[in-house]
């Protein structure tokens, strides 16, 4: 039998197939499995974002992002006699605008009984207390403080949160600023409002301390609820004891302490408390640093502009925020647009709302992290990342907020691919979210940048206090000014 023909025929088939492939490549579309548009009704995404995007595509506004000069110098005016060195737009950090927060930290360092509070607003990146818990632990390690801060009643990520475990009955009615425009009662500081509307069954929530450092107990658990014309009852069950309390809902925001001191777990069961807006519980030991995680999946940040300022002020009277962190961006990357002027406008409104709600608070904007998309056959940094990061930097600068460039902080171009491929991996295969390990690293990076500002602040503060008296001690002044020079470089 002649075998020749079959080897060459077989070669011919493979070779011809190759030619056929080239042909198919030319006539057939480039991709299969196109990214089908989802019915947004079923996907968790904020309604304000969808509106803004729709509006943006209608307006024929030309690309108004004036390529701002990255080398442009930003010079600060003195705040309380302190002036941080000038910086360029490229490297903008805006420590100057965090001075009031740094001063509070400084006071805390001198007097450990005082306290500092941070509200950390974020999207799914901070779900399950990722990143935020690491920022919290870093601060509490250095400045003291115990407790996980404010915790909502229910959350879609409650199950994945390790810093505090919570279980809740299924009959809670929840409204979120994500997709509700006119809530029955105003939203709480967490952007949610809950109602225990079921008359026949008890509506309950149960908390148990997690295993995180400085959060192994629930300290001074305190219920936050809003105003209502009706009154209600709540039973706090701690171990075998049941405390029956009534809910007096006269003020815009009311608090009710479960117990003083530290406990491991408790259950709150609401009886006949329909129409009373319930917000959540706060856990803190009354001194040191406390960081509240207000994460909401699918959030662009824009819904914060719907906050009722008077309600927020009422929250602030009790909680007394010193820093508000806005960590958003992930959810605005996927709209095929690279013009983020609409987002800039929207977020400027948000920052203004925060200023109105929490007077005198410092604000920190955290930019989007790196995110990868497949281009041809390779995962690369999504082309929208840098434009979005620049837009975020612009509104940070314009609203006089501090800024963390998370994109460059984690390594810049192509860094997400590295974080995913690294072994052990630090980010998930969606090339967007960090895992536990990565979140820890991010938390540390954020803390380090914030802390660098604080250390600089302490030096500047000392310089301010020392200078008027020791002006004559020329040598000293010289050495300080040399230092400033090196910062200026």
């Amino acid at each position: 039998m002649n075998t020749k023909s079959y080897f060459f025929q077989s070669f011919a088939i493979v070779a011809l197939a190759f030619v056929a492939f080239i042909g198919f490549k030319q006539i057939l579309p480039n991709k299969i499995f196109s990214d089908s548009k989802l019915d947004s009704k079923n996907v968790l995404i904020d309604s304000l974002l969808l509106e803004s995007v729709a509006k943006d595509s209608l307006s024929s506004e030309d690309d108004s992002i004036s390529e701002s000069n990255g080398k442009q110098k930003i010079v600060y005016d003195k705040t309380g006699g302190i002036e941080f060195p000038s910086e360029t737009f490229d490297n903008y950090k805006g420590y100057q605008y965090l001075i009031s927060f740094y001063e509070k930290l400084y006071q805390l360092e001198k007097n450990p009984q005082s306290k500092v509070r941070i509200a950390y607003y974020g999207d799914s990146m901070t779900d399950g207390d990722l990143i935020v818990q690491d920022v919290r632990v870093n601060y509490q390690e250095r400045f003291g403080g115990n407790g996980v801060g404010f915790v909502s009643i229910t959350s879609e990520s409650a199950a994945s949160r390790a810093s505090v475990k919570s279980l809740y009955s299924k009959n809670w009615k929840m409204q979120s600023y994500l997709n509700v425009k006119r809530p029955v009662s105003p939203f709480g500081v967490n952007g949610h409002v809950f109602f225990a509307n079921n008359r026949s069954n008890a509506t309950w929530v149960q908390y148990e301390a997690g295993t995180n450092k400085f959060s192994t107990t629930l300290d001074n658990p305190t219920l936050f609820y809003g105003r209502s014309s009706k009154s209600g009852k709540v039973n706090f069950i701690i171990g075998k004891d049941t405390l029956k309390k009534s809910l007096v809902s006269n003020s815009l925001v009311n608090t009710l302490k479960v117990t003083s001191g530290s406990i491991k777990a408790f259950k709150a069961s609401f009886v006949q408390s329909d129409s009373i807006p319930i917000y959540g519980f706060n856990f803190d030991n009354g001194s040191g640093v406390h960081v509240d995680n207000f994460s909401q999946r699918g959030n662009s940040g824009l819904p914060i502009s719907m906050f009722d300022a008077s309600v927020m002020q009422a929250f602030n009277n009790t909680l007394k925020y010193d820093l508000v962190i806005l960590h958003y961006g992930t959810n605005v990357l996927n709209y095929g647009t690279k013009n983020y002027s609409w987002y800039e406008k929207g977020m400027t409104k948000v920052v203004n709302k925060i200023k109105e709600s929490f007077p005198g608070v410092s604000i920190l904007i955290i930019s989007t992290a790196d995110k990868s998309t497949k281009y041809a056959q390779e995962m690369k940094t999504d082309s929208a990342v840098v434009p979005l990061m620049n837009a975020q930097k612009k509104y940070a600068l314009e609203t006089e907020s501090g800024f963390v460039n998370l994109y460059t902080l984690m390594g810049g171009d192509g860094s997400m691919v590295k974080w995913v491929d690294e072994s052990p991996a630090k980010a998930n295969k969606d090339y967007t979210h960090f895992n536990q390990r990565g979140a820890k690293a991010i938390g540390k990076l954020l803390y380090d940048q914030l802390n660098k500002g604080y250390e600089d602040y302490k030096v500047l503060r000392q310089k301010r206090d020392v200078n008027p008296n020791k002006r004559r001690a020329a040598g000293r002044v010289d050495s300080v000014s040399v230092k400033t020079d090196s910062v200026n470089e």
């Binding site: 039998m1 077989s10 079923n42 998930n428």
Partner: protein, 560 residues
């Protein structure tokens, strides 16, 4: 001149301008771009290689050397400098096998065999298990040993097993050694099965080297059919659903709903089947194009009616290897041995310890541990041939434990192996009580439920196999445990991941297609003219290409 220019233009348009750099990159090792069968580079290189191969078909040593060189290059592209390790281990193994063959005294023979087995396992152990051992040791005795920065050479588990089979078969006098090193190296380094199997047995493969190289029309048909199927399974189904769905859920199971967790488990079952079997099929097909017949490696395993049946259909070359060289070596179903008792005892001891240490937080681990031990004991205590079943079950359990560990260094692989070992023992005692009637086939319902139960058990075990660690596996299982019947929400999820679910469905339908139908398809394919076959293959290339460039699905959070 116009024609040359236009050809050049056409070329640049379709392939882009080719720079020296690019050409270099084709031949230099790049850890990020392994030379897999489903890459364009492999196709290009293979075309050139195959063309020359066809001319060499009537030569012998020239052809062998040619294939060896290509194989070494292929391995170099996957593992860089470690191709030297392959060469080194082959020289040592070849030397030892020669000594064993010539040695007349049984005792001395045995000593050399032991030396070679230890050498091979030590090599495999260092590269694959060193860090696992260090981590385990550090965890158990709070030690502080530093991890080694070990690179895992691609396919080391496969070629180590393959050369071990050669030596053991020589020791057992089942085969004669090759006439020289070239022939041996050809067997060990044969590129189609080098990096991911099937594990070819010396006694199946060596005779083929000496036969006159032959390639029939039917061989080509079979090869193309296997390659087409393999490409679709591996690059379309497996890759797409893993990147766009399964990986994400297993990354953070608690962030997804119960239904998504369940679907990710089913998804992983079809993904791993398509991955392993798809690559095997391509390897078998390519070997066939070169004129070599490798054994079938997967026979639609999820159609198994029992776990014993499953292991006759899943990764057959591995399971027969384990049976012949591990299970039989430690005593098989005839006698017990130290190793046969050691590993199961260690495992069950560890299991009970785990149950006891976790007792304060939850009683469930202890219940699981005790029922595991009880089940295993019952599996031989209830048997009529108690002594023999005991031996068999211990040896079987050892085989499955070590087989699990072979898949990867990690506790979850041991658990996976243990679950299968336990299930095999349970099935054995079950069939002793309810023997299947030989003369007539079981009724449809019986068969249906057998398949359903076996399949779900296998899927359950895959959760451990896939999860990053034991904790994550438990999270997935817990999450699935909270599943409630909410068809409306399920529909939303399915629509959200439309492509993924369509591919999963396609994969399962294809898998469960009656054999009659697949045979029909094959028959039609065989009858198609050559040109049309080429077009079909070309179309499949395009599908592979288009899937590879398809953007990944953005993450979705559903609201209910």
């Amino acid at each position: 001149m116009i024609t040359i220019d236009s050809i050049n233009d056409w070329f640049i348009q379709n392939f882009g301008a080719i720079s020296i750099e690019q050409v270099k990159s084709w031949f230099i090792y790049n850890p990020d771009e392994k030379l897999l069968f489903n890459t364009g580079l492999f196709l290009g290189l293979f075309l050139v290689f195959y063309f020359v191969y066809a001319f060499l078909r009537k030569t012998f040593y020239l052809r062998l050397t040619y294939v060896i060189l290509f194989s070494l290059f292929f391995y170099y592209k996957s593992s860089g400098i470690y191709f030297l390790l392959l060469l080194l281990s082959s020289v040592v193994d070849y030397g030892l096998s020669q000594i064993i063959y010539r040695e007349k005294k049984d005792n001395v023979k045995k000593i050399y065999l032991v030396i070679s087995v230890i050498l091979n396992l030590a090599l495999l152990g260092y590269f694959k298990y060193m860090n696992f051992l260090i981590v385990t040791f550090n965890d158990m005795f709070s030690g502080n040993f530093e991890l080694h920065n070990v690179f895992l050479p691609v396919g080391i588990s496969f070629y180590t097993f393959q050369s071990m089979s050669y030596i053991i078969e020589i020791y057992r006098e089942e085969i004669k050694p090759t006439k020289n090193y070239i022939e041996y190296l050809f067997f060990v380094s044969f590129f189609p099965q080098l990096v991911a199997g099937p594990i070819v047995r010396a006694k199946d493969f060596l005779p083929q080297i000496y036969e006159k190289l032959n390639l029939t029309r039917q061989d080509v048909n079979n090869a193309l059919f296997l390659i087409i199927g393999g490409l679709i399974k591996k690059t379309v189904i497996s890759n797409y659903i893993s990147v766009n769905f399964v990986d994400r859920v297993f990354d953070t199971p608690m962030n997804y709903t119960s239904f998504e967790n369940l679907m990710a488990s089913y998804g992983y079952a079809i993904q791993i089947y398509c991955d392993f079997s798809g690559y095997s099929d391509m390897a078998i097909g390519i070997a066939l194009l070169l004129g070599f017949k490798l054994p079938t490696n997967f026979r639609t395993p999820y159609k198994s009616t029992s776990i014993t049946d499953f292991w006759r259909r899943w990764h057959i070359s591995l399971s027969t290897w384990l049976k012949d060289f591990l299970y039989i070596s430690i005593g098989g179903n005839r006698e017990g041995s130290f190793a046969g008792y050691l590993f199961p005892s260690l495992f069950f001891f560890g299991l009970l310890l785990w149950g006891i240490t976790n007792y304060t937080t939850s009683i469930i681990p202890l219940i699981v541990a005790i029922s595991g031990v009880t089940l295993f004991c019952l599996s031989f205590l209830l048997s009529s041939k108690r002594k023999q079943t005991l031996v068999t079950n211990f040896n079987l359990f050892t085989t499955m434990l070590l087989g699990g560990l072979w898949h990867g260094a990690g506790a979850q692989f041991i658990v996976w192996g243990a679950l299968h070992g336990l299930a095999l023992a349970v099935h054995k005692i079950f069939s002793e009580f309810f023997p299947s009637k030989k003369d007539k086939s079981p009724n449809f319902l019986w068969k249906f439920f057998s398949i359903l139960i076996t399949f779900h058990f296998v899927v359950f075990c895959w959760i451990f196999f896939r999860a990053r660690d034991f904790q994550t596996a438990l999270q997935v299982i817990n999450n699935i445990g909270q599943l409630t019947f909410e068809p409306e929400n399920w529909k939303i999820i399915v629509l959200g991941y439309k492509n993924v679910f369509l591919l999963m469905l396609f994969g399962y339908v294809w898998h469960f297609l009656p054999e009659v139908l697949t045979n029909k398809m094959k028959f039609v394919f065989d009858k198609t003219p050559l040109l049309l076959k080429a077009v079909v293959l070309g179309f499949v290339y395009w599908i592979v290409y288009a899937t590879a460039v398809a953007g990944s699905q953005p993450f979705i959070y559903f609201q209910f």
